[in-house]
Symmetry: C2
């Protein structure tokens, strides 16, 4: 398929209006469309890149977690996920997060999917890795502000969670549905 | 599958620190985990709910669009999508957006998927509808700040775009992969 023509906007003015530590900053821009029409106010949320992992054990089970997510106020099953730290590659971040959150490591890793959390207002990308043949190599290392529970599940159970709408995080549902669509 | 226990945090303090028209507001909270550990600063991005539509014509083609997305700086194929306005149901918003962005209407509508854009920091949900047997009923009605191109595609073409990673928006990739996984 041909890619659509990239009809970029021209940035006429850009300023940072909020910086919240390393998590988020907000940029306010005045832009001009190719038509010449100006949009006086557009907000861009600046985040670091993110990663998540579809981790399969040697017997083909999936390493899932559950975690309370405060903005939604709910606790759901999820993939291991996290932020790419300064100086890290996405792959390094993915291996680090899997080890920290679950104690699983080793295995064969490949890039599985790259998504935009929201191309309208997020400037970052989310990388999903497929890690095959991982195994327990250490214990979970949680920070005091983390409360993560590990679930090593049959793939059929994860598919059932997807069918039931239990995996609500779009950045996790997309690669998991892709995985099952390609099975 | 059993749902995980919802280990909710207690909100000790909550204040709005930024309000950007109807698009976004930011709430800063001080919270306490069930363990008693306090997190002094947590940010919640408050958005209205969103919708998108997998729209199928009578001959089984998919009504897609492409649109420049400024935060990412790229133009990709997408589903028709938009914001649920005040006083609207998600279904009403989905029908309105499909009509405005493409001129397609009619058909049989059902809820297909509910996702969280990011349960960590977004308080809203995104509803996907499956609309079967839609047909052209009017012309596209774009606002001056919209630059949307319509593509009525074979389903095999959309599947190919997914395989190529061309559909980058997670809230669109997830329902489309679900659709093809269930085919």
């Amino acid at each position: 398929m041909n890619k659509p023509e990239n009809r970029k906007w021209k940035v006429l003015k850009s300023e940072n209006i909020l910086r919240l530590g390393p998590w988020l900053s907000v940029r306010q821009e005045c832009v001009e469309m190719p038509s010449g029409k100006q949009i006086p106010t557009w907000f861009v949320l600046e985040f670091p890149n993110w990663i998540n992992v579809i981790a399969l054990t040697k017997d083909g089970k999936m390493v899932m977690i559950d975690q309370y997510r405060h903005a939604l106020g709910e606790t759901h099953y999820e993939l291991v996920a996290g932020v790419v730290d300064e100086g890290e590659t996405p792959l390094e971040a993915a291996k680090r997060e899997l080890l920290e959150e679950t104690g699983f490591g080793g295995g064969e890793w490949s890039e599985f999917m790259v998504l935009s959390p929201n191309p309208t207002n997020h400037n970052n990308l989310s990388y999903t890795y497929l890690a095959k043949d991982v195994e327990p190599v250490t214990t979970q290392h949680q920070e005091a502000t983390e409360d993560i529970r590990i679930h090593v599940m049959e793939q059929a159970e994860v598919r059932e969670l997807l069918e039931e709408g239990e995996i609500v995080q779009a950045l996790h549902a997309a690669p998991l549905w892709k995985y099952f669509a390609q099975e």
